[in-house]
Amino acid sequence: MASSTQVAPELALEYVHSPLRVIHKLYDEHASETDDSSVNNFGKLAQEHFQTVFANSDSLKHIPVYDQAKVPNELKSGSLVRFRCMVQDPSYGEELHLTVARVLNTETGETQQKFSQFTDMEHTLSDGWEVDYGSAHNVFTEKEVAYCVSIPGQSAWTQLDQKDNLESAMEAMSLTGAADGSHGADVSVKYPIPGTAYSAALVKFYAPNTAPKVSSAIDVIGIYELGRNAKAQDSGNEDKLWPCIHAIYYSELQPQNLNSMLPELQINDYPSRHHMCLSHLTSVLGGDDLAAQYLLLHLLSKTVRVQDAKVGKLSLNLIGIPTSDQEQTAQTGFNLTNPASKWISDAISQLVPYNVSIPFDLKLLNKSTFLPSAEDGDLQAGALQLVQGTEVICDETCLSNGTLEERGVRNLHAVQTAIIDQQVTYLYPFQPIEMPTNLRFLVLSTGKSILHNDCDVYLSSSAKQFFKSMQGSPSAEQQLRPLDPMHTEQLRQYLECSRHMEFSIPQPVSDLISNEYAQARRAAHKEGKKMMTQEELALTITVARLVSISKGEVELSLTSWNEAVELERCRRERNVQAKGSSN
């Protein structure tokens, strides 16, 4: 039945509503021989089976999306769910599972096999039956348990399609807190961005699957159940039930796959999309086309590790965002208060799948934790525990005078390390572990940022004016011209595709760059001017690379190189001017 490519909707529904029955049937069919290997292979069999049934997006739609808010009412234990999540803590305990148990009737001596997988439920035995723990037919398998949370900073448009999207979102807002308390341990420390609604579940992985790496974004299809956690026992809440998802299969979530509606982007579409994107960003930045250029390049950047160097990243500091007129509200958490910053952040969240804002509010810096830290094997999230490719917007405009305490210093340091080295330290007891990450940092500040960034751009005076005018009107959010949905889709696709483009520098261009560099330095030396440094050269090449891929070129052309040099020249000129005028 699974071999047919077209799956009848009613079949899919059976899989959704009683997946365990399907699994049992499958086991009975295929695993008559009960030895270890057939049990160990069963996970693979089940995975393939389900994958075939849910191969196309139509049948996938039947699977309800896991949402903690819906748990008690709509989501029944034992049904199939889908959960797009971040692996917050991949080693949340390891469990052994008695997959095949031999039961024995003490009176008649009759024996039976009890099979269970993808569930923690206990078989109830009728009178006279006992588990024969001594039997050689019992099979133990292991499963890995990971703590997964909804992806931090997930933009609204990447949420899985749902009928009552808005409604359930509202519900989630109001109910998540309550849901946390009713079952599971206090998990609020396990979500990177406090104060945001999210769902969380223990995801149990069965062979052949293993728990994915920490902070990876995955799409899990599995069976929802309220279950137990072996780990919790040490801490004395053994009786608590945890929302669990028994993963039948999962895939790493690729941002490109988030919007599959559009036809594939063709190479000759790039120039028009590029233009469209640029004009959109220009209007977002109040008509400042140079800043828009850099913002686009920034959005296209990603970190590539070559040998021990990190290249290709372009953390951007936009200078000249006015400070907010509004009085600092008491506790805003991770929400931006400055309308100008919010405006930019909103515009970006339309375009990128994951984005997180960190207002550099003293209180927030001093109180919250940015680095994930582990205590007794339990990894607690920090604001920088984010999935690869997340856009992080640091709003420095809300920074005010005051004391930065030790934690604040550590937090700032953590952000700086993430910007420069693209590394986030996971503070495991006695041995901090550095994890490579891939985050794009956009720092919004009034003057030059306290953080060191790859690239600083002073906003033009018109842009400054534009943002200043926002401060007065409280309803600034509404000013954002809603893009035609089709166009937004196209822009998203353009950004994702360009970002993952292959790239190379042909030999002649490479030679030219080297010569230019050497000559420029010699010339500068002669005139006694400041010489171009390695870092400046590296930055120019980064810009050239991004200019190149923004146009859909896989090889650096001379034109793009010259464009990049010109861009850099304009930027420096403007920065010098801006610095001059501000002094």
């Binding site: 030895d35 270890d36 080693s91 390891e94 469990e95 052994l96 599972h97 008695l98 148990a101 009890k114 269970s116 569930t119 439920m121 206990e122 078989h123 109830t124 009728s126 039956w129 588990v131 723990y133 001594g134 050689a136 133990f140 398998t141 920490v214 279950g227 137990r228 072996a230 780990k231 026992q233 053994e238 070559v306 040998q307 021990d308 160097a309 290249v311 007794d376 094997g377 030790e406 210093v409 550590r410 495991y428 007891p429 006695f430 041995q431 490579p436 790239f503 520098i505 490479s510 080297s514 230019e516 560099y517 050497a518 010699r522 030396h525 440094t533 390695q534 590296a538 090449i541 690379r545």
Partner: protein, 906 residues
């Protein structure tokens, strides 16, 4: 409360023996046919039925360190009861898990054959004691363990194993020492110290031909074999010391097996390891408090004083609901008497993987440890351990309803032996002492382990590969190139860093009061921004087997050193190590060294010479080891290096600190069209998503290999200075000292007499540095002695570094005073002249009646007289010196400083 506790029967001669009757069918008797040993195609017997209820009951007496965890439903137990001795290993189900997997691997036996009651072990023991010949060979069912065989072999081992069976590679033992059996001596020690534990190196078991097979058995069936071993040990002990009173000692002699051939990675533990003896390495990250685990409950009837004891059964003590006195029979009148119940110490702990074994980009796994009695509190959080223990599973829900199938089990390790790895043996505990008390052969290994055990073993092929590298004449260039391959050029710096990574030899002289001499090489990089200093630092950090990367700017004194916090759980003050302590025995990389606060810097003074950190805070006064080398990077004061100024003027660091660096490299952004071009090509190459073509054909070593190589060299080589090298060192030092004279004579001729110039080109510090570097280079070659060649390279690097850092920009000569005091000899002369001038001015001023004037005005006035501007630095020094001479005094500070002339002095 230990009254009950200690009354445990010894040698299976009393009450607990009764239990055997119920377990008669636990041992399968096989016909006395020759038993194939290995591979074991032994049919696994299985008893059925009757024994269920009794299983696991006998776990009464003081345990071997692993007693029943709260237990699971019992099947027929494979427990081996030995008269109450150390029954705790076995716990019904978990032992089943092991045997089940066993069964599935072997052929199965028709069930009809199961349950043949064999004779019970007790009778067998009795028979042996009586000297009767065994008629049958008995195995513990479900296993291939033959009780008699194991006993005989282990006894033989204890009696006859001697160092000669496993001689250490290098030893100075005499023939008699080699022949002397090891364990009787250790049993004697056991008796003397009254620590009833015997560490048995599993490798000794393997090395001793008659007991070779025991190794496999104890690994596969620890729960069965260990109690037998304990039994034999007790027997042996009593034979040696017939008068010993074990009841008085309150502890049964226990065998602690350790040093298995393979150490399992935590993440590779899987169901097939259940109930096997495993050895895992990791770091203890948490230990619970000591939990009293009730072993026997004592009940008394409130009505009639009737008493009874109930033993722990499957983790549960079932209280009698009714008085057992036939005359009373009162219900709900039986009361627990806690003070007459028997308890055992138990501790839960968590072991976490160490970074070396964690796959890239993954988080560490942890495993739960359960330690009992003597093993409680043996290690502390932060210790690196090798734990030998039994891997077990236990259902997540305890004491469930009977009628369900328990599906989910958690796993843990029942600790048998704990060995501390690495250094830092601060406190000695029982087990620690025992470790050292183990066999001669063990000590050898211990010594190796202590040196640096955290990187795991080096395989022979790896060692061979390293040896091959070491013979390559281009070794240093290859390794230097592999260090931060993305950074172009800077070859000398890379060489220096390489030597730093290998490190010199730490020397501690036997002579009392002799100073400890550090072996770590400290390196300072100073230079223009944008010359990839930071990248070099992170490259070294990535390579160093242990180390911390920190920025001088971000880290307060707290971050760099140890600090004291209050533990949230216990409310006790605890010492938390900072970066420096954490990088003990590694490299501490400090970026933006110049931005560091003064208090932090003062800490570094101590660290760099004494290699310790003293803490005096909140009532805790202690000194922690911080034997790390420091790699620091600093930027010049004016962001750009000024060639006209000396290093001290260029960087904002006290000379006393700078002088503590063995190597100071100045990395400048210089103009060289050719190298610029190459550099540009190199950077472009990084971006091109294709391999960088390197101009030279030197092979590159991957980073992880290089790390391994460094660890290997650090661990296994301790070069000593050969006579030739000593001569070479002396010569190099004299050369360096003479450098000032020669250079002075050639460059400035007669004007500058070297002797009178007072320049110092090398001090004892430089000699020490040179020794360290020569040692490091020898280490790099994996050579056990330092040769003149090593000295040559060290001296060359030293000269390079000095030429850059200690050159007086005004004279172009090397002058170490510049580094040591901040004033070169040429400064000195200038200073004296300036002081003289100032003094004249002051005298003149005081005669005019002016008594005080601002600092700045004095400087201006002097400047008017001088044809070249006076460096404020020098004027500062002059003022300071005049102040100490009592000529002037200073009022105020900073810009508003006033200089007051003391009339009396002039």
């Amino acid at each position: 409360m230990s009254g009950e506790h200690s009354s445990s029967p010894v040698l299976g001669h009393d009450s607990d023996m009764e239990d055997f009757s119920g377990r008669a069918d636990e041992y399968n008797t096989l016909p006395a046919t020759p038993m194939p040993f290995s591979p074991p195609p032994l049919p696994a017997g299985r008893a059925q039925g009757g024994a269920n209820r009794q299983a696991g009951v006998a776990s009464s007496s003081p345990q071997l360190g692993f007693s029943d965890m709260p237990s699971m439903p019992a099947g027929p137990s494979s427990q081996l009861a030995m008269g109450g001795m150390a029954m705790g290993y076995s716990e019904a189900l978990s032992s089943q898990l092991g045997s089940m997997t066993m069964d599935s691997q072997r052929g199965r036996r028709p069930r009809g054959e199961l349950g043949f009651g064999g004779q019970m072990l007790s009778s067998e023991l009795g028979a042996m004691e009586g000297g009767a010949k065994p008629v049958e060979i008995r195995t513990i069912w479900g296993t291939v363990v033959q009780v008699r065989d194991v006993m005989a072999k282990f006894k033989d081992f204890l009696q006859h194993f001697a160092a000669v069976h496993r001689p250490p590679a290098e030893h100075t033992m005499t023939e008699t020492e080699l022949q002397e059996p090891v364990y009787p001596r250790l049993i004697r020690r056991m008796h003397e110290t009254e620590i009833m534990q015997l560490n048995v190196d599993a490798q000794n078991l393997r090395a001793f031909a008659p007991s070779q097979r025991l190794y496999r058995l104890v690994v596969d069936y620890p729960q069965e074999v260990l109690p037998i071993m304990d039994y034999v040990l007790t027997e042996q002990y009593l034979e040696q010391f017939p008068d010993a009173n074990l009841e008085l000692a309150q502890a049964e002699p226990k065998v602690r097996v350790y040093n298995l051939s393979t150490s399992t990675n935590m993440r590779d533990l899987n169901p097939s390891d259940i109930d096997k003896l495993v050895s895992v390495r990791g770091m203890l990250v948490r230990a619970s408090g000591v939990i009293p685990d009730m072993q026997k409950a004592f009940y008394r009837c409130v009505q009639c004083e009737w008493t009874t004891t109930v033993e722990l059964d499957k983790g549960v003590i079932s209280a009698p609901t009714q008085c057992g006195n036939s005359g009373c029979l009162k219900k709900d009148a039986v009361q627990l008497m806690p003070n007459r119940s028997a308890y055992e110490d138990k501790q839960l702990a968590r072991l976490q993987e160490t970074p070396e074994v964690i796959p890239d980009g993954q988080t560490p796994h942890t495993v739960t440890l359960v330690a009992h009695s003597e093993l409680v509190d043996v290690a502390r959080p932060g210790d690196r351990l090798e734990v030998t223990g039994i891997y077990r599973g236990e259902p997540v829900r305890i004491n469930p309803r009977q009628r369900t199938v328990q599906a989910v089990y958690r796993t843990f390790i029942d600790v048998v032996h704990v060995r501390r790895l690495g250094r830092g043996r601060v406190q000695r505990s029982t087990a620690q002492g025992l470790d050292e008390a183990s066999a001669v052969v063990d000590q050898q290994r211990e010594a190796d382990d202590t040196h640096d055990a955290r990187d795991g073993e080096f395989s022979e092929s790896e060692t061979a590969e390293f040896q091959r590298w070491a013979r390559d004449p281009r070794l240093m260039d290859i390794l230097a190139q592999s260090l931060a391959p993305s950074i172009h050029g800077l070859d000398d710096v890379k060489r220096g860093l390489l030597l730093q990574l290998f490190g010199g030899v730490r020397k501690q002289y036997e002579r009392a009061g002799a100073p400890r001499s550090r072996g770590d090489i400290n390196v300072l990089l100073v230079g223009d921004p944008g010359v990839s200093k930071s990248q070099l630092l992170s490259a070294v950090h990535a390579l160093a087997p242990r180390g911390i990367y920190t920025s001088g700017k971000g880290s307060s004194a707290v971050g760099l050193t140890a600090y004291i916090t209050r533990d949230p759980d216990t409310r006790q003050l605890v010492l938390e190590s900072g970066a420096l302590v954490l990088s003990d025995d590694g490299v501490c990389c400090i970026d933006e060294f110049d931005k560091m606060s003064d208090s932090t810097r003062s800490v570094l003074h101590e660290v760099m010479e004494q290699q310790t950190i003293s803490i005096a805070k909140a009532g805790i006064i202690t000194s922690l080891n911080a034997r790390c080398s420091i790699l620091a990077a600093a930027n010049p004061v004016d962001s750009k290096w000024n060639r006209q100024l000396s290093i001290v003027e260029n960087i904002n660091l006290p000379p006393t600190l700078v002088s503590r660096f063995d190597l100071v490299f100045i990395v400048l952004d210089s103009i060289d069209e050719d190298s610029d071009r190459r550099l540009a090509r190199h950077i472009v190459g990084l971006y091109a998503d294709e391999p960088v073509e390197s101009g030279d054909s030197l092979p590159q070593v991957p980073i992880h290999k290089l790390t391994r190589y460094i660890s290997y060299a650090r661990r296994s080589v301790r070069p000593e200075i050969s006579d030739d090298a000593a001569d070479a060192l002396t010569a190099a030092y004299v050369d360096l000292r003479r450098l000032g004279r020669d250079a002075g004579a050639t460059t400035s001729g007669a004007v500058q007499q070297a002797a009178s110039s007072g320049r110092v080109t090398a001090t004892a510090r430089q000699l020490e540095s040179m020794i360290r570097m020569a040692e490091a280079h020898a280490k790099m070659r994996l050579s056990s002695s330092v040769e003149p060649l090593d000295v040559e390279i060290a001296a060359k690097l030293m000269r390079e570094a000095l030429r850059e850092s200690a050159t007086d920009p005004r004279t172009g000569l090397i002058d170490l005073d510049l580094l040591n005091t901040g004033f070169a000899a040429s400064d000195r002369r200038q200073l004296d002249a300036l002081k003289h001038e100032t003094r004249t001015l002051l005298v003149a001023a005081s005669q005019e009646g002016a008594s005080s004037s601002s600092y700045q005005s004095w400087l201006d006035r002097l400047n008017e007289q001088s044809y070249s501007p006076i460096p404020p630095r020098l004027f500062d020094q002059v003022v300071r010196e005049l102040q100490t001479e009592g000529v002037i005094s200073l009022v105020g500070s900073g810009r508003n400083m006033q200089i007051v002339i003391k009339q009396a002095a002039i």
